[in-house]
């Protein structure tokens, strides 16, 4: 069976931080610990300044094991205000990745 992971469609991440606080609430993390982090990426191109946001998973992400066991999606996926996170088998996520402009897959274990 394929392992599960997260597809992060970072083209649409607005940097709202909902995933981070959802993660902290779910796991009761404190002191800055969190399973996901959103970084702002600013690039001064030749004709335009570009602002992107890139969520990355940390070693504290357990893909919300307790929730997925109860057939609920990970809390960051549910609460992402831009709906840019997708949870599922990595093989399925790869197919989704082909359809989207800018995305990455994380597979924490």
């Amino acid at each position: 069976m394929s392992r599960n992971g997260l597809l992060i469609e970072y083209e649409y991440c607005t940097g709202c931080h909902a995933c981070e606080v959802a993660c902290k609430q779910e796991h009761n993390y404190g002191g800055g610990v969190c399973g996901i982090r959103v970084d702002e990426l600013v690039t001064a191109g030749p004709d335009k300044v570009q602002v992107d946001n890139v969520p990355i998973l940390t070693r504290f992400c357990d893909l919300c094991a307790a929730r997925t066991l109860a057939h609920e999606e990970p809390t960051c996926v549910k609460h992402c205000q831009a709906s840019c996170l997708l949870y599922g088998p990595i093989t399925e996520l790869v197919k989704e990745m082909e359809k989207r402009p800018r995305s990455s897959i994380y597979a924490p274990k």
Binding site: A22, G30, V49, E72, K78
Partner: protein
């Protein structure tokens, strides 16, 4: 965390806790009598399961060690920070006795009723104020009343109703509704919707529309995530948005791109508008705004020739010089292109089912409290007699007039204040020091809130602990849908809901008996307009859209006779049309047509001052993890935005010897504070952007420090007394001048 043993309550989030304007559906999980988790409700059409950081942090907010959960009385001098816990009986008896005494000696108008931003507080605070007999409802210090009211007033005058960008929020099936279509273009006008749910609009609906094909035109002095993805970025000089709107009107009219059939049939005063906008050719607008004339032309053409398109605008529009005029000009853009009450345009927004929770307008106040009372009290409403638009449109005090009156005691002295969930000094007030000094002169101040903050510490005599949204019964009809908030737990310790506190005091203070025994009776009485009640709505999952044919449902209501009291087609204005030449503005002694006004202090208006303070200061930058001055004490949120941080352009910073992360002093003719510098190419070389509402709850709360509000609150660089001719707008929140220097260690 195992969730299956937890009791789940569905509710609607609005107000304290998340703090926000939105009406997100939520699931509140309770274990052993405590809220352990708040999640989004997937079945709720407003947020469809999503939730913002502030909503997700509610459990940490509710059970925070510093939350005030018992009534307190001040036992030292004001600002000394000496408080004594008292019972609710003692607190209410004291408030009742003092307020009755002030009323007997000086009249009810000598007590002002102060709220912060537009949340469910508008219901309870007016209920108490009118029961007491005062007309003075105010957001103290909110210069030029610059938060939605200028835009609402302009739309009321122009089209007799309010409009918002149509992201399908008025239909329960949302994006799947067959009658809806996505806007082809959305103009994001001076707003960062990703930061929250401004004006009751869930910001990420914009992203939902982008995924469905909407393209963006963004008007913003900064480079942002949205400008990165926009077809056109109009990077204008802060404060000049009125000229942008007039320039776009000029292009659309002169190039014949407007909706001729709509204008012919449904608009009044087109020829006068056409004549006026001849004063604003794109080349002149370029000089004013720094935006290339061709870019203005392109934006105007794209917007006008792609129908439907929508405009989503933000608070900076209100804060412009002559804010209500800028709003009028923007309203005219969607009017002459026929993007009004059409799917994917600027849909007319009415309170769901015709229910009033928060009486925005004089009309709603009159409906709730009776014409005789409202008219009688208006005679003494502060600022109402100076500004006909303020007198006739909305039941507020004019804040710039208020501060003068607080200082001069003319035409009468203010003796008391009821302040409810409003951090005046650390939050909205321009020139907070002036407000602090003026309000210290009051005889008696009641403060109702959830945490101590600069205002409560500096001014309160009695502190009453309010409940979060998870602890109270409330209801919401701000646009759609109609909803109720359901308590998942009792008030933490002794906290009580704003409705409960105000109903109890209204019973004690009213001059005519209050007919409601309980909050639920009051809510049900108001829900009667929607043919429903609290329990029915709760049992349905907390929300309901109005039935087919209801005038609070879209679209094209002007064609169907659903906007006017007489049931005729048309708009609810004096001429029955969208008034491009505003009869109401004319009646109120204002220019019926839009014009451009320069900020009071700017390179153009005060070139000498600009030599001393060579950068433009725009304040009020929103953080996605804080709501105004709230949430700085919530660890989950604060660690994401730990310091007050101003944005400064990288090249400008290099010239000033400032590096990323340096502490800098921001200073102008009105004040000086410090912030950390975020050095970034996203900032315009001439513009410094600062967040508002910063104070440090971890520092000394006692006066004079007051949680460091004088050191970090950017409003110390802003002023009162710049209000526009209508009384609305004209502030320097968004377009002041400043200089920035590195603070040496």
């Amino acid at each position: 965390m195992a969730k299956n043993k937890d009791k789940v309550t569905l509710s609607t989030l609005w107000s304290a806790g998340c703090g926000s304007h939105g009406g997100c559906g939520c699931e509140i999980y309770v274990r052993d009598g405590r809220v352990v988790r708040v999640e989004g409700d997937k079945n709720h059409p407003f947020n469809q399961g999503r939730l913002c950081p502030k909503g997700l942090a509610i459990p940490q907010y509710m059970y925070h060690k510093d939350r005030v959960t018992h009534p307190l009385k001040r036992v030292g001098e004001r600002g000394e920070g000496k408080w004594q816990r008292i019972t609710w009986d003692e607190a209410l008896d004291t408030v009742e006795a003092r307020l009755k005494d002030i009323r007997a000696k000086y009249g009810a108008e000598s007590v002002i009723f102060c709220q912060g931003t537009g949340r469910d507080i508008g219901g309870p605070i007016t209920f108490l104020m009118y029961a007491y007999g005062s007309p003075n409802w105010v957001q103290v210090g909110l210069a030029g009343h610059a938060c939605y009211t200028p835009r609402l007033g302009a739309m009321f005058a122009t089209q007799g109703a309010y409009s918002v960008a149509d992201c399908s929020q008025f239909l329960e099936k949302r994006y799947d509704s067959p009658e809806w279509e996505p806007p082809k273009y959305i103009i994001l006008w001076a707003q960062n919707p990703a930061a929250g749910c401004h004006d009751g609009f869930f910001g990420h609906w914009i992203i939902d529309c982008m995924r469905r094909g909407s393209k963006l035109i963004v008007i913003d002095p900064r480079h942002t995530w949205f400008t990165t993805r926009a077809a056109i970025h109009i990077q204008n000089r802060p404060g000049t948005d009125g000229a942008i709107a007039l320039g776009m009107l000029n292009v659309i009219i002169n190039e014949g791109l407007y909706d001729k059939a709509f204008v012919e049939k449904w608009c009044y005063g087109f020829d006068e508008l056409k004549e006026r906008v001849q004063e604003y050719p794109p080349e002149k607008v370029e000089e004013i705004t720094w935006v290339p004339a061709d870019l203005i032309r392109q934006a105007a053409r794209l917007y006008a020739t792609n129908k439907p398109s929508a405009i989503q605008w933000g608070e900076p529009v209100d804060a412009m010089p002559a804010g209500s005029v800028v709003a009028q000009a923007i309203n005219q853009l969607w009017a002459i292109t026929g993007n009004i009450d059409n799917p994917g345009g600027n849909v007319i927004a009415k309170n769901s089912h015709g229910v009033t929770t928060y009486p925005f307008s004089s009309a709603e106040l009159t409906k709730l409290y009776g014409e005789d009372l409202v008219k009688k009290l208006n005679e003494k409403r502060i600022g109402a007699n100076d500004y006909p638009m303020i007198k006739n449109f909305r039941g507020w005090v004019q804040p710039d007039v208020l501060i003068e009156q607080l200082e001069t005691d003319k035409p009468y002295k203010v003796h008391g204040a009821w302040i409810q969930t409003s951090n005046i000094i650390g939050g909205q007030a321009a020139d907070p020091r002036r407000h602090y000094e003026a309000m210290k002169r009051l005889d008696f101040i009641v403060y109702v809130d959830l945490f101590q903050n600069p205002t409560s510490m500096g001014l309160a005599d009695i502190f009453l602990p309010a409940a979060t949204i998870c602890e109270k019964e409330s209801f919401r009809s701000w646009w759609q849908p109609l909803g109720v908030s359901v308590p998942a737990v009792e008030g933490v310790d002794e906290a009580r809901s704003d409705w409960e506190i105000n109903l109890e005091l209204a019973k004690r203070l009213a001059t005519t008996p209050i007919k409601y025994n309980t909050v639920k009776e009051l809510i049900n009485d108001r829900l009667k307009d929607g043919n429903t009640d609290y329990d029915k709505l709760r049992d349905k999952g907390c929300w309901e859209y109005p039935p087919e044919g209801d005038p609070t449902r879209p679209y094209y209501r002007y064609q169907r006779g659903l906007l006017r009291k007489d049931g005729q087609p048309g708009f609810d204005t004096p001429t029955g049309k969208v008034e491009l030449y505003s009869k109401r503005y004319e009646e109120w002694g204002l220019d019926p047509l839009p014009y451009y006004e320069e900020p009071r202090e700017s390179y153009v208006a005060t070139p000498e001052l600009a030599k001393k303070y060579p950068l433009i200061l725009t304040t009020g930058r929103r953080s996605p993890v804080f709501f105004h001055s709230e949430h700085r004490m919530i660890p989950w949120l604060r660690e994401l935005d730990p310091d007050p941080e101003c944005e400064i352009n990288d090249q400008t910073a290099a010239e000033l010897g400032i590096e990323n992360g340096d502490w800098v002093s921001i200073e102008n003719a009105h004040g000086k504070i410090k912030m950390r510098a975020k050095v970034t190419p996203t900032a315009h070389p001439k513009v410094v952007t600062a967040p508002h509402g910063w104070w440090l709850p971890e520092t000394d709360g006692k006066a004079p420090n007051l949680f460091s509000t004088w050191e970090y609150n950017i409003n110390n660089l802003t002023t009162m007394g710049n209000q526009g001719k209508s009384g609305f707008g004209g502030t320097d929140y968004r377009s002041g001048l400043c200089r920035v220097t590195k603070i040496k260690d």
